[in-house]
């Protein structure tokens, strides 16, 4: 039975152990549990291997396939290298939250039904919020609340979709579907919110850069890539995803070009890279899905590497704005080199993992005859080199001399970066290592002389454009507005204006009521008031003579009779 222990559970136990353990025991737990998890991931056979009753449903928390194992592998590896990067510097609760978050991602990988998927999905939302809060600043606190609201909203939408699908089809299986009904649209939207798709992309660049240097490494890996996996499993070939993906690609480039904060540049380029995967899932052919899976694998590695190098800079200098940084290559050679390797990989430079994976997506677009998509992807490759490939290392490690002379990375952060930098290069040079684990058989040859020349021209001339256009890209100390402006500012202002109007109207109403009360009091006092002398009493409070009273009673009775007979 041990060989069927769900891998997510192992990592969750690791997360629980981080708290009570101390010193070397804690380090051991942090470093060993992801490796046991990785081993367990590879013991999961194809098909459903565990069924449990849960609230009257039969759930399948453990279903294996090549694709699921591939994602779980990179998530476990990410937990290990992230743990290695963080274990000497992060707070224990950040480490524990990071592992619980990774466990959620691995749980989603092996979820055989929509309920399991949803439970692990929410586990991720919960603990990723904790990681954002671990940033420890007022900004992190506020961003964490906005992040949590967005993900809980996404979770509710996803749940509405899942319930709808169950009610209408009676099946909770995870199987390919198309967004044709309300239920499937809700599931698609719920997943796309986690993929940072438009119009709700802003949460990613809002929250990730507010986290701690170690926290952002964990955050960069899991949420968006589990969304990619869920899309591959549930919506392969959904045409709307092609254009959602293209939008994300272009959004990422433009916003990253405008951005001043180094980690926020990287956050925007996550949206950009996930856009490539989403677009590939929309194309939906075997090659495209292979490309999406391979690109997700490579992306987690180089994006984490980039966040690690940025994290070292933040850790050593406390600064992350391009306007404050520069010239760090002098004292941080290892971080610089690792950052450059990550930057080249994200730009899909030949001999890096980005080239061997992203070009699969381009090929899939070409095979499908999608000319516009193909050329937009090529243009985007140039744009990625521009906004992340050169911009990030240039502004952080070179440009002007900021006068900062920080020490290079601590040893554990250094090793973590070297491991991921090595994977970037190994997958670029020996792509078959990754290709053999892709969900569909691969007969794709990345290195053809003509294609390499094309990409070299494309990228190097983008580099030329960068340096020639540098005056246009002078960093300004600004942020860029996003769709979240609608509720962070517009809705806030409308609410504030409404409040002012309502309270003005309220005080007017109050004044009127008060005036009427005064009038009423005067009126009643005049007619019913009890004074000391007979004359100062109100009209109805005086003593009346019996004759007058009788007369009035007779009048009243007459009126009553008349009314009765009428």
């Amino acid at each position: 039975m041990f060989d069927l222990l769900p891998p997510a559970l192992i990592l969750l136990v690791g997360a629980l152990l981080v708290g009570p353990l101390r010193g070397h025991w804690r380090s051991a737990a942090v470093l060993i549990t992801p490796l046991i998890t990785l081993w367990a991931v590879w013991q999961v056979p194809d098909g459903v291997s565990l069924t449990l009753p849960f609230l009257g449903y039969q759930i399948e928390p453990l279903e294996g396939s090549a694709l699921r194992r591939l994602f779980a592998t990179i998530f476990s590896l990410m937990a290990f290298v992230g743990g290695l990067y963080a274990f000497r510097h992060a707070k224990w609760y950040e480490l524990a939250a990071g592992y619980a978050y990774a466990a959620g991602a691995i749980g989603v990988c092996f979820a055989g039904d929509l309920i399991t998927l949803f439970l692990f999905w929410e586990l991720m939302a919960l603990f990723s919020t904790v990681i954002v809060w671990c940033g420890g600043t007022p900004g992190a606190r506020a961003a964490g609340i906005r992040y949590a609201i967005m993900h809980l909203l996404g979770g509710v939408i996803l749940k509405v979709g899942i319930e709808g699908v169950y009610v209408h089809t009676g099946s909770l299986d995870i199987q390919p579907m198309l967004a044709t009904s309300f239920d499937t649209w809700m599931i698609l939207i719920g997943i796309l919110i986690n993929a940072a798709a438009p119009p709700l992309s802003a949460w990613l660049a809002d929250a990730y850069p507010e986290s701690s240097p170690t926290g952002s490494v964990f955050l960069s890996a899991f949420t968006t890539k589990t969304a990619v996996l869920a899309l591959i499993l549930l919506f392969p070939g959904e045409p709307v995803l092609i254009w959602v993906g293209i939008y994300m690609i272009m959004y990422g480039i433009i916003y990253a070009l405008l951005e001043n904060d180094a980690r926020r540049i990287l956050a925007y380029s996550i949206v950009n890279q996930v856009g490539f995967m989403v677009c590939a899932i929309g194309i939906g052919t075997e090659l495209a899905l292979n490309g999406a899976a391979a690109h997700a694998f490579a992306h987690i590695v180089y994006k984490a590497l980039l966040f690690m190098s940025a994290g070292v800079v933040v850790y050593r200098t406390g600064k992350s704005k391009c306007t404050d940084l520069g010239g760090l290559f002098r004292t941080m050679p290892l971080t610089t080199v690792c950052g450059i390797i990550g930057a080249l990989s994200i730009s899909s430079f030949p001999l890096t993992s980005g080239f061997t994976t992203k070009t699969m997506i381009s090929q899939a677009a070409a095979d499908g005859g999608l000319v516009t998509v193909y050329f937009l992807l090529a243009a985007a490759s140039a744009g990625v080199f521009l906004h992340a490939g050169i911009k990030f290392p240039w502004f952080v490690f070179f440009q002007k001399d900021s006068g900062l002379r920080p020490k290079d990375a601590p040893w554990n952060m250094g090793i973590a970066m070297v491991i991921f930098a090595a994977i970037c290069l190994i997958l670029g040079i020996f792509p078959e290592l990754l290709y053999q684990y892709l969900p569909y058989p691969v007969d794709y040859i990345p290195y053809k002389a003509g294609k390499v020349i094309f990409y070299l021209q494309l990228l190097l001339f983008s580099g030329l454009a960068f340096f020639l256009l540098l005056p246009l890209m002078k960093r300004t100390i600004t942020i860029s507005l996003d769709v979240d402006w609608l509720w962070r500012v517009l809705a806030f202002r409308i609410g504030k204006a409404l409040y002012t109007r309502l309270s003005a109207a309220g005080s007017k109403l109050e004044a009127v009521v008060q005036q009427n009360l005064v009038n009423l009091t005067t009126f009643t006092r005049r007619h019913l008031g009890v004074g000391i002398g007979e004359e100062s009493r109100g009209l109805f409070a005086r003593t009346w003579q019996i004759g007058t009273t009788t007369l009035w009673i007779a009048v009243l009775l007459t009126i009553y009779m008349l009314v009765y007979y009428l």
Binding site: I145, I254, L258, L386
Partner: protein, 89 residues
Amino acid sequence: MSQRPEDDAWLVRPTTIKLLWRILWAVLALTVAAHFVIPVKGYFSIESWYGFGAAFGFFCCLLMVLVAKILGFLLKRDENYYRGDQDDV
């Protein structure tokens, strides 16, 4: 920094930067020249035009930088923008 340029790191001396620019131009020329020897057989015929990748890359970047610049006028705000108008949430 009042030090002389020769004292700074090798990489940022004016002479080195001049050299790096020359290398960049040489590599650029080389990749375009390689087009004579190696036929670029793209998926679409336009890709095999001479130096297409180079021109495409350069002009796409130019376009993106300009679009970003224009959008920047619309979207860029002071970095304390959100802090000014509301409480910390």
